[in-house]
């Protein structure tokens, strides 16, 4: 598998330039300039444990930048991710023509509570627990410059899961480490949870209503998952498509299993790829996943239950009525979160003169 490293690195750079942005954390730099190329995400789920793998890529420049990512639970470990897991997934679902032959060869074989602090390469990662206001204050005190939609978005997540991952990316340190533009730092979080969900609304943080959010989300589950919103449905507002759904190949699973920290990969799994291509104002939900086989992804996990649990209906209510009601109740307007660590010790954005 090590043979893959060089071509995959080249692929990563190419994708960074040509492919949709892949992200599952809010990214922002001083005054809103996003300097991280992308993050790529895998939400794997096996034996009641979510394996959340994402990567931060260095896009050049100096200073510090950050990211806030809502999590479904408290991680039991935060470690450097494997070297090729995310790239291998991209290759599985979007193989460039000149890559096909190679694939064949490979298959032959503060007040928020600080829970954890981990340094991975040029990333300082902090796992936080707290309400939206507490997380926001912690972020400000640690140099993050939050955009105006952050208060609403932080509450949106904290009301469901008060766990966040703050990642501060020191571009100067990355440059000193010799990281080249496009080099990624993978991060692997192990999170026990009853069912995984993937934060999507956070991708629009700091974006204006009409800005387009693009992301690729890979899911690896024991069974074919049920998703909410269902990609392609009206509930997804046309901003989400099911790009791949099928039994994961033995070659893929073997390759993933051979990467660092990926021993958990089961003998068989279902691979799903969801492509997000939505305007920020429409992306007001997350991706709920029922990986149990029960086929009942949670409205709450999808962020479509803003006013508390729905009362039990007196008679069976068709699911589409519930979903339609949820859509109508979701307030329109706003956008979504990212945090940017400010240069030089947390300077604030410029105010009026």
């Amino acid at each position: 598998m090590r043979r893959l490293a060089a071509p995959l690195a080249a692929l990563a750079v190419t994708l960074a330039l040509a492919a949709p942005t892949l992200a599952c954390g809010g990214l922002i730099g001083p005054n809103g300039a996003v300097n991280l190329l992308r993050t790529t995400t895998l939400a794997g789920y096996h034996d009641g444990v979510e394996h959340y793998v994402t990567a931060f890529e260095f896009a050049g420049g100096g200073g510090s930048f950050g990211s806030l990512t809502p999590l479904p639970g408290i991680p039991t470990s935060v470690v450097r991710g494997g070297d090729w897991t995310l790239q291998r997934l991209v290759r599985e679902t979007d193989p460039p023509p000149d890559f096909l032959a190679f694939a064949g060869a490979a298959s032959a074989r503060d007040s928020a509570i600080v829970l954890q602090e981990v340094r991975i390469d040029a990333l300082d990662i902090t796992i936080l627990q707290g309400g939206g206001a507490e997380i926001g204050v912690w972020a400000k005190e640690h140099g993050f410059s939050l955009p105006p939609d952050a208060p609403e978005v932080l509450d949106f997540y904290a009301s469901r899961s008060p766990i966040f991952m703050a990642a501060s990316f020191d571009a100067d340190a990355a440059a000193e480490r010799g990281q080249a533009i496009g080099d990624g730092t993978p991060v692997h979080l192990t999170i026990p949870t009853r069912n995984p969900w993937v934060p999507l609304r956070i991708l629009g943080l700091g974006k204006s209503a009409g800005e387009i959010v693009q992301a690729d989300v890979y899911l690896l589950t024991d069974l074919r998952p049920a998703l909410l919103p269902d990609p392609g449905s009206k509930l997804a507002a046309g901003g989400m498509q099911l790009a791949h759904s099928g039994v994961a190949s033995d070659a893929l699973l073997a390759d993933l299993r051979s990467d660092k920290g990926m021993e958990w990969i089961p003998a068989s799994a279902w691979l799903t790829k969801v492509e997000v291509d939505a305007s920020a104002i429409d992306l007001r939900f997350d991706l709920a996943i029922d990986a149990s086989g029960a086929g009942q992804p949670s409205l709450r996990d999808a962020g479509l239950e803003p006013f508390g649990p729905l009362p039990a209906p007196p008679s069976p209510t068709p699911l589409w009525i519930v979903l339609l009601a949820a859509v109508l109740l979701v307030p329109v307007g706003g956008a979504w979160l990212v945090a940017g660590a400010m240069r030089n010790g947390g300077g604030r954005p410029l105010a009026g003169a």
Binding site: A133, I135, P148, D149, P151, G347, A351, G352, A353
Partner: protein, 134 residues
């Protein structure tokens, strides 16, 4: 546009002076403006001229905001400004996260002003309100 005379301590002194002289001073008016999810509430306020108006600015947000009150030319200057902190002038207030700040102003004539937060992207996000002086 109304003439905006800002007096916080000065307003209290004038009030005391008026009482001492046996005059009946105009009653001070308190106006509460909340900031929630980076929006002012209410966004349309009407106050009389000639009396001290105390604005109680309550930020429920965990991020920095500012409340800058003035006419179009005033806001145009602030859109391109570089002053990171306000506070020396009662119509220019910086609000730290979750802060409550009071400021008192007196308007000498009727007219219309706007209050805006000029942090990057905040005005576009909707942090704009209108103050009508009658």
């Amino acid at each position: 546009m109304p003439v905006l005379r800002v007096r916080s301590a000065a307003a209290a002194l004038l009030l005391l002076a008026g009482l001492a002289a046996g005059c009946t001073p105009a009653a001070a008016t308190r106006v509460e403006i909340r900031i929630h999810y980076s929006h002012f509430g209410p966004t349309a306020i009407s106050v009389p001229h000639g009396v001290p108006i105390t604005f109680v600015l309550i930020s429920e947000d965990p991020i920095d905001h500012e409340w800058l009150l003035g006419d179009a030319a005033f806001h145009e200057r602030h859109r391109t400004g570089t002053e990171a902190q306000h506070g020396a002038r009662p119509n220019e207030i910086s609000l730290p996260p979750l802060a409550t700040i009071e400021t008192t102003l007196t308007f000498d004539s009727p007219g219309t002003l706007q209050f805006i937060c000029h942090f990057p992207a905040h005005e576009k996000y909707g942090m704009v309100g209108t103050l009508t002086v009658t």
